[in-house]
Symmetry: C2
Subunit: 332 residues, 2 copies
């Protein structure tokens, strides 16, 4: 299999991206990576590194799209940027199956939308990150910001795409799909939720009803369906609250020398906490509903995260995610 | 000053509510509490308790509105319920200044809306809880679920009410008001946010622009303005994520005997963590925009929380919150 990786995206590019790719090439013997970015910089990173040269193709791209640029404008004008060139490569090479980037979310989504096009029948592609749950599994939030103003039909399609993802990639037989609302009761919600609810009940999916934001990480749900604005608030407030809580815990534990000493004995415990959150092992968010696979890795991705992101993409390819979404949409 | 308290609301009523009131009467020598609920039960709780009898008035109400009842229906039909009778007392007695309830949020808001009426000029009253911040202060989220579908004018009024609250009650000279969005940049957001942004800039308030959900607890903002659906997602996901994080930390710390022993020395540290979150000292959420003061205490309120809720209400009265909101709205 062949995937395309944006070498220039994210806070630690190209160094950590290149390292992540080298790790992935070791993990997956049947993987070829097309690394798109400034060739000179990439080659410098690869100096003194042992890697399978025949499975790492460098595609030069001189330009970079930053997070501060207006996405549509940037994608339209910066033809020599790593994001645009990467997506062009994916589009024009049948054997290339996916694109991974830790760069500007707006530019990656806009670029994927414009270059790859929507899947037949899909009105709005959606960004769908995964979060750890209290019971150890993963939960998908779809959409988390690709679309700002959506209608009930869009929400139904998000549900179907989430269903297909959980079934084909996570191998969950009957994914539990819930609709984000202000209470678990059927009648709760805003106009959009109230319109989507009966439509979701009609689908051939395991729709389990409304869910409150408080319960999304409980492990009782596999997919949380929401509009992009609410989904963005949901994911970012969880991220903010988790790091705020950990900061408060850390500050209090390191407040006195005595506490610091006691905390030393708990170092492994805190490492386990980090492991539970699995921030390293959740590599990024798939952008579902476009014609090829696209994964948006975190902007602050280090090599480990890029490795995880590529692992995820490999699972998408193995699960034939695109075909699975297509089948779910057409009820095949 | 005289306030009305719903003795029958919340998971631990009437016992913890009555205890909280007795604590409050000790704290505030000029306070009279009208305790509304089943007289027999209230009197039983007061047995063997020393309290200033002349400052505790019991108003009998035989009925209870539960959280599972449809609010509008319940408020309209259950005239002998503690919520309806309490709000009636507040409405009909000029010297009564506020109502506190840990009961059904829907019933309290609906009842307050129907019985007390909206303040002149206010289109939609709003529920506005306070959260602790990373810098030690408090931040208000307004609205958090009183209104499901709002327009830009509503958001502007939420901002003005939040401004008035922070100025009169929290004594912040120039409260920093931010608009919840999907990014901090001016142009980010859904249609509602994009319409509200320029209107907020025109107000005589310290509008500091958009804020991402990730940053709402940073301490850089005093008021976060949002529609009720997004606000509900915001508050509940923060609550859920904080408790999820603490659960994970606790589980990992208690995993082995050795860790348990080390953790013993950190008991005080974890107490301090709890103190930072100040869950006990934030009593409840004011319902702003109706003609008298209403505070919705948490459903799981214990006596300490009720005491805090009443402390908050005393601050509202001292800060002349209603008059302050009125002045802000009329730009006096």
């Amino acid at each position: 299999m062949k995937i395309v990786v944006d070498a220039m995206g994210g806070d630690y590019s190209p160094s950590e991206i290149v390292k992540g790719c080298v790790l992935s090439l070791k993990n997956h013997k049947d993987l070829t990576i097309v690394l798109v970015g400034q060739e000179v910089l990439i080659n410098k990173e690869l100096e003194n590194t042992i890697f399978p040269k025949e499975r790492l193709i460098i595609e030069n791209a001189n330009d970079i799209i930053t997070c501060h640029e207006a996405p549509v404008e940037a994608v339209r004008t910066k033809n020599d940027s790593s994001i645009v060139k990467g997506l062009d490569y994916l589009k024009n090479n049948e054997d290339a199956q996916a694109f991974v980037s830790a760069g500007s979310t707006g530019a990656v989504l806009t670029g994927a939308f414009l270059k790859l096009g929507r899947m037949q029948g899909i009105k709005r592609p959606a960004l769908a990150p995964l979060f750890p749950t209290a019971k150890g599994g993963k939960v998908m939030f779809i959409d988390c910001g690709a679309n700002m103003d959506t209608n009930e039909t869009n929400l139904v399609q998000f549900a179907l795409m989430g269903h297909a993802y959980m079934k084909s990639v996570q191998k969950i037989e009957s994914p539990r799909i819930a609709l984000l609302s202000v209470g678990a009761e059927d009648e709760k919600g805003n106009e959009l939720v109230k319109k989507a609810f009966p439509l979701l009940k009609e689908q051939k999916i395991n729709f389990v009803g409304n869910v409150e934001a408080r319960d999304v990480l409980s492990g009782d749900y596999d997919v949380i369906v929401c509009d992009g604005f609410a989904g963005n608030v949901l994911t970012k407030s969880i991220e903010g609250a988790v790091s705020f809580t950990m900061k408060v815990v850390k500050e209090n534990i390191l407040k006195t020398t005595w506490r610091k000493i006691s905390a030393l004995f708990l170092k492994k415990a805190f490492k386990d906490v980090k492991e539970t959150f699995k921030l390293d092992s959740i590599g990024g968010a798939p952008f579902l509903g476009v014609n090829k696979l696209v994964l948006k890795a975190h902007g602050n991705s280090k090599s480990k995260n890029i490795e995880s992101a590529i692992n995820e993409v490999v699972e998408f390819i193995k699960g034939d995610l695109i075909e699975s979404i297509r089948k779910t949409l057409t009820c095949e």
